[in-house]
């Protein structure tokens, strides 16, 4: 409808323009006629006007053929006038193929005598370019009313068309913006009736299409009454003041029942004359934003709380850290004191520590060694051979010990060894060396040996003295044992002596006889030899037994040792009117020990057993000595008496030093016996017999599993 109106208005304007141009043409015509009256040829003159008209003018005969066309055709189409006049179907070839069907109908109407104005179509130029033109046509009639065809005027409307298209594009853009902008957009006239809105607003307002809202007021829409009143007050203010209201926050109950939070701006719409003719509103739904804001506030509060909590945590952590730092300072101080102490110790101690690095080829190199080395060895580190092994210092007799220790270390085992070194001043010192290997985690190769050596010379001396004391004590114990044995041994010795003397004197007498009794004399002499040897044996055993000497452990044959003991004990048994029964299991393994100490232990046990039986009637005093192999391959020698046994209180204490039940006892016999047993890896203990008396057991490890045969 508006297009129709527009066209009408344009027609009016066109008519006016044409009239104006006609007036100009008429006035020109009068001027031409007036100036060159004589020569005036109206046909010539109109042709000239027509030829120079800017628009494309043409005259189509009643038969539809082109009668005339002005030169403008060449400007617009590239075809010359002549070429056009030659065309049978002018102007179709000049029309864009897309417009030809439509224009064919228009041409037909024109031929039929209609008139038309400003029908747009596209001309197709010779060079193929299209241009928009508008055509107007009128039928032509002669004065006599004869139909002369029609004329047409084609004007280049490319500029207009482009402007229209641009406008249309802008409008489309605007419509698009309005349609798709996520805001409600609406506009009202001065009476606050809606003139239009976009779909978004229509949805909120509760109308099905934007067109439906036209002419409605806010009272007819979805809002609450007080909201409506507020909207209108705002609108009126904009209309009254002509000043936009920007960013009003308001709430609006919408058609779907939701109450939306809006951010609204209202601007006045002005007519061409500048008068305010309406109001344009843009609503932005900020509900989500608001909710987000609330959420944000809440989040902010929560964040605040968290920050506070975190701050408290940080404070705690800070305190902790401060405490840790304090502790660290304390520890460092302690460490410093410790280091200082260590340094003092390292400086003052007689120990020295060292580390050797072991190369893959087995060679070693000293990494470091503490200063005490020089004090202990009276040598400087530098004066050692280039290899600088401790071996250089070791006494020749002890090198095998050190080499064994080194082998152990290289095999990855810890080692402790005692050996002597020769100091720079030639003095001998005993060292106790302890070392351990360090491995490479990956190759498992020993890469370093770290150790410490201690000067134990004093300890060794003390040990030696202690050993001498111990030996002296044992000797004393033997003397004590012997004290009891002495009378019996004197008797023992007396027997062979008596036999020897008696036989010798008898032999003398036998030789004095006439004739001398040679046979008896020889027998007497034989006995003298036999019993002389017997006496010598007794004296040898006695001397061995009483000799003060360092224990000399050797491999012992139990049977042989017990035979010696039996000989020594025989007299003792006689003295006590007792019998001793020796029994040795077959094929006993050997043991390691000092034979004299061994005798001492067994004789002591035998002596105790004999003394335990003195209260028994003669003939029942039987002592049993047995040697056997136990389950652990130890050789066990048991001495059992048939005495009254020991009260528990006594039995519990018999291995205590200086505990004795004998009037003249030293109370050391069993103590020393046990220490001897333990020195050889054995043990000594007592059990009660099932019937009478007690049994003492001496167990010693057999040497069968050991080194030398």
């Amino acid at each position: 409808m508006s297009d129709a109106r527009k066209t009408k208005a344009e027609l009016a304007a066109e008519l006016q323009r044409l009239r104006a141009r006609l007036a100009v043409l008429e006035s020109r015509s009068v001027a031409v006629h007036g100036a060159a009256d004589a020569r005036f040829n109206p046909s010539e003159h109109f042709r000239a006007v027509a030829d120079y008209t800017y628009d494309l003018e043409s005259w189509i005969g009643p038969d539809g053929r082109l009668l005339w066309v002005n030169p403008a055709v060449e400007r617009l189409t590239g075809y010359s006038v002549t070429e056009c006049l030659a065309m049978a179907d002018y102007p179709l070839p000049l029309i864009h193929p897309a417009d030809q069907p439509r224009m064919a109908r228009v041409l037909a109407e024109a031929r039929a005598g209609s008139s038309g104005n400003d029908v747009p179509f596209r001309l197709l130029a010779r060079d193929g370019r299209a241009r928009w033109v508008a055509v107007s046509w009128q039928p032509l009639q002669a004065a006599n009313g004869r139909h002369l065809g029609y004329r047409s005027s084609i004007r280049d409307i490319t500029d207009r068309k482009e402007a229209e298209e641009a406008l249309q594009a802008q409008r489309t853009l605007l419509d698009g913006i309005i349609a798709h902008i996520p805001c409600g957009v609406y506009w009202k006239d001065r009476e606050l009736r809606y003139s239009g809105c976009n779909a978004e607003f229509a949805r909120a307002a509760g109308v099905s299409t934007p067109a439906e809202i036209v002419g409605k007021t806010d009272h007819e829409l979805a809002w609450e009454p007080e909201q409506t009143a507020w909207f209108r007050r705002c609108d009126e203010r904009v209309l009254t003041t002509g000043v936009a209201l920007l960013n009003i926050e308001e709430s609006e109950r919408q058609a779907d029942g939701r109450v939306a939070q809006l951010l609204t701006s209202k601007v006045p719409l002005r007519a061409a004359d500048g008068q305010v003719c309406g109001v344009l509103g843009v609503d932005t739904d900020i509900s989500a934003l608001k909710a987000a804001q609330v959420e944000l506030c809440r989040a902010h509060d929560e964040l605040e709380l968290r920050v506070q909590a975190r701050t408290a945590e940080l404070a705690t952590a800070n305190d902790q850290l401060r405490r840790e730092i304090a502790e660290r300072v304390r520890v460092e101080e302690a460490l410093r004191i410790s280091e200082e102490r260590y340094r003092h110790v390292a400086e003052l101690t007689s120990d020295f520590a060292y580390a050797f690095r072991i190369s893959p080829d087995g060679s070693s190199e000293a990494e470091w060694i503490t200063d005490a080395f020089a004090r202990v060895t009276a040598r400087s580190w530098a004066e050692l051979r280039p290899a600088r092994t401790l071996l250089d210092l070791v006494h020749a007799d002890d090198r095998s010990i050190v080499l064994r220790s080194v082998q152990l270390l290289l095999a990855g085992k810890c080692s402790a060894a005692e050996f002597r070194i020769v100091r720079g001043d030639g003095e001998l010192r005993w060292l106790h060396n302890q070392a351990r290997p360090e491995w490479d985690e990956i190759t498992r190769r020993v890469v370093r040996i770290v150790g410490a050596a201690q000067d134990i010379t004093h300890a060794k001396r003390a040990e030696e003295e202690a050993r001498q004391h111990q030996a002296a004590l044992m000797h004393m114990a033997r003397l004590s044992t012997m004290g009891g044995l002495t009378a019996q041994l004197a008797h023992e010795l007396n027997q062979p002596l008596c036999t020897i003397v008696g036989n010798a004197q008898t032999a003398q007498r036998l030789l004095k006889a006439d004739p001398p009794d040679i046979v008896e004399t020889r027998a007497a002499l034989n006995d003298i030899v036999t019993h002389g040897n017997r006496a010598a044996d007794i004296i040898r055993r006695l001397r061995d037994f009483l000799r003060l000497q360092r224990p000399q452990p050797v491999v012992l044959n139990i049977e042989r040792v017990l035979a010696d003991i039996a000989a020594l004990a025989e007299a003792d048994a006689r003295q006590h009117d007792a019998s001793i029964d020796f029994g040795v299991a077959a094929q006993l393994p050997t043991v390691r020990g000092d034979p004299i100490q061994f005798q001492q232990v067994i004789l002591n046990l035998i002596r105790n057993g004999l003394e335990a039986m003195t209260a028994l009637p003669a003939g029942t005093r039987a002592l049993t000595v047995r040697a056997r192999l136990d389950y652990a391959s130890r050789v066990v020698i048991s001495v059992s008496d048939a005495g009254p046994g020991l009260p528990d209180a006594v039995a519990a204490r018999i291995f205590e030093p200086f505990f004795t039940t004998k009037p003249s006892g030293l109370g050391m016999g069993l103590v020393i016996s046990r220490s001897i047993a333990e020195a050889y890896g054995g043990s000594l203990w007592m059990t009660k017999n099932a019937e009478r008396g007690v049994t003492f057991h001496l167990a010693l490890p057999s040497t069968t599993a050991e080194e030398e045969p």
């Binding site: 003397v501 004197q505 008898t506 036998l510 036999t530």
Partner: protein, 211 residues
């Protein structure tokens, strides 16, 4: 010397074989008979009571000792004098042994002459003891022939009482006592009071218990 051989056997008891053989050889070299035993028990088992002689005895031996044997022999009135030999100089033991009638107490080692002298002394003692035992047995046999009244009178006479006193004691006449006395003197084959007293000692007649 040969007389000794007739006088008896030397019994040697010693647990030491060497000593035993040596003494045996020594004793034989002077022509005496000798028997050896390794223990007291062995000796007791084998000894014939009719054999005379003497003992050479080791004091200390396993089982029964020499002193034990001395005690037993004394108790059974076997007339064997004992010579102790010992390896120990045990004086107390020696004294005890001597008190019980040992002939000698010899320490080992000893000179042969010491032992041999002791053996001779012992053999002499053995003869004496044998004779004494003989006399004792005689006396006892004679004593056995007396009547109870004669024994009573015998005891009182030996006690040294006069006939008159005995008669008063027994409540009879002096004359009767005289008669008993004469008879018992005859029975006992005693020619004097001292001889009668010796016989009383031999026979073991003791003083009247009622006194």
């Amino acid at each position: 010397m040969t007389a000794g051989a007739q006088r008896g056997v030397i019994f040697v008891v010693d647990d030491d074989a060497g000593v035993r053989q040596m003494i045996s050889r020594m004793v034989r070299s002077v022509g005496l008979r000798v028997e050896t035993y390794a223990s007291v028990q062995e000796f007791l088992d084998l000894y014939d009571h009719r054999q005379t002689g003497c003992l050479v005895l080791d004091v200390r031996m396993p089982g029964q000792s020499g002193l034990d044997l001395q005690e037993r022999l004394a108790a059974s009135e076997v007339p064997l004098p004992i010579i102790f030999i010992t390896g120990h100089g045990d004086i107390a033991m020696g004294v005890r042994a001597m008190k019980r009638g040992a002939v000698d107490f010899i320490e080992k080692p000893f000179q042969d002459q010491v032992l041999l002298d002791a053996i001779h002394a012992a053999l002499t003692r053995a003869t004496e003891m044998h004779d004494a035992a003989q006399a004792r047995d005689d006396a006892r046999q004679r004593l056995a022939t007396l009547t109870p009244r004669e024994r009573e009178v015998f005891a009182l006479v030996v006690d040294g009482l006069a006939n008159k006193q005995i008669a008063a004691r027994l409540g009879t006449a002096e004359q009767t006592i005289k008669m008993h006395r004469g008879r018992l003197m005859r029975k006992m084959d005693a020619d004097s009071l001292p001889a009668l007293v010796r016989l009383a000692q031999l026979a073991g007649v003791s003083a009247n218990p009622r006194r």
